[in-house]
Amino acid sequence: MEAAHANDTWQHWFEAYGPKLLFCARQWTRSLADAEDIVQEAFVRYWRHQRQLPGDPQALIITSIRRAAIDHARRETRRSVREEKADGGLEERDSIFVPQPGDDAERRGEIEAALQQLPLEQREVLVLKIWNELTFEQIAETLAIPPNTAASRYRYALTALRKALKPVCHG
């Protein structure tokens, strides 16, 4: 997180950390548009009112994002039920990762699919650990679970991913 301190505007900071926050929010929302709304709400609230709080800014914003996502989900529950009945419950499928030069698009797609298959409780820990680089203690605080539980869920998520991707890795 120290790297963020080298940046001197919210735009620079958000360009560096926005993708991670958005990916994080995406775990708790049904669509990318919802995730963006929630990131905007949480980030603006943090920037206006919570910047002087002690602690890691990224962890604070993620906590704020999660709370906003939970509130949003409660508001949208009835609408979601109607949509599930209408469209069969399919979630919006938008690409999670940015294509990199020379990467394997097929492999990237399989990883995305494998991530989608993980239980939410495992996927959220994995995203916070891998892409947001939080410690298990910070993850535990964010998700209101014991650190050992966070570590266990992370291990289960990696095990499940390895199992799902193994045929591709060695095939």
């Binding site: 963020a4 919210w10 920037w47 002690p54 999670i96 990762f97 990199q100 990883i111």
Partner: protein
């Protein structure tokens, strides 16, 4: 963590999440037009200093000035009490002229002695990186104190207490050299 996961973790970390859309950036920009353009940073913990430029020494230096100000203010009050005498306005002017403040001030100064000066640090805020005169980086840190000075009269044990907020801005070198 299981070492056998390292390869998978490295592969996952190599994947970059998609960037926020321009719509999201515009939305935030619309809501933060007047916010100070400073990056979020962890708040500094309380620190103190023992050198001669510490706030403790500044406080005692300021105490002398504060004492003088308080004595003058008290002298003014005493003078006002005197001119409340039931006399005509012209006579009041004469009374004031015949009792110049310096003698009164001198008397009060003898009566009241400074006995205590305290500084309470109630807020500490890191205001970000700035450039100093020699173009080196420094962090501007604002310390907010409540200074309280107390005087006491040995004659009648009366005390006078004066509290005033004070902001102190320090530039702390941001380089290790």
């Amino acid at each position: 963590m299981d070492e056998s996961f390292h390869e998978l973790e490295a592969e996952l970390k190599s994947l970059q999440p998609r960037a926020p859309s321009a719509h999201l950036m515009r939305g935030i920009a619309d809501e933060l037009p007047s916010a100070p353009a400073t990056a979020p940073r962890a708040r500094l913990r309380y620190t103190t200093s023992t050198n001669l430029r510490s706030w403790k020494w500044l406080g005692w230096r300021a105490a002398g000035l504060a004492a003088a100000a308080a004595v003058i203010a008290t002298a003014g009050l005493m003078t006002l009490k005197r001119i409340k005498a039931p006399v005509a306005g012209a006579l009041v002017t004469q009374v004031v002229a015949n009792n110049p403040p310096p003698s009164e001030t001198s008397s009060l100064r003898d009566d009241y002695q400074p006995v205590a000066a305290t500084n309470v640090l109630y807020d500490l805020k890191d205001e970000g990186l700035v450039k100093t005169g020699d173009n080196s980086d420094a962090r501007r840190v604002r310390y907010r104190y409540l200074d309280t000075y107390t005087w006491k009269s040995p004659k009648n044990n009366a005390s006078l207490k004066w509290s005033v907020p004070r902001d102190e801005i320090r530039l702390v070198s941001a380089t290790l050299n």
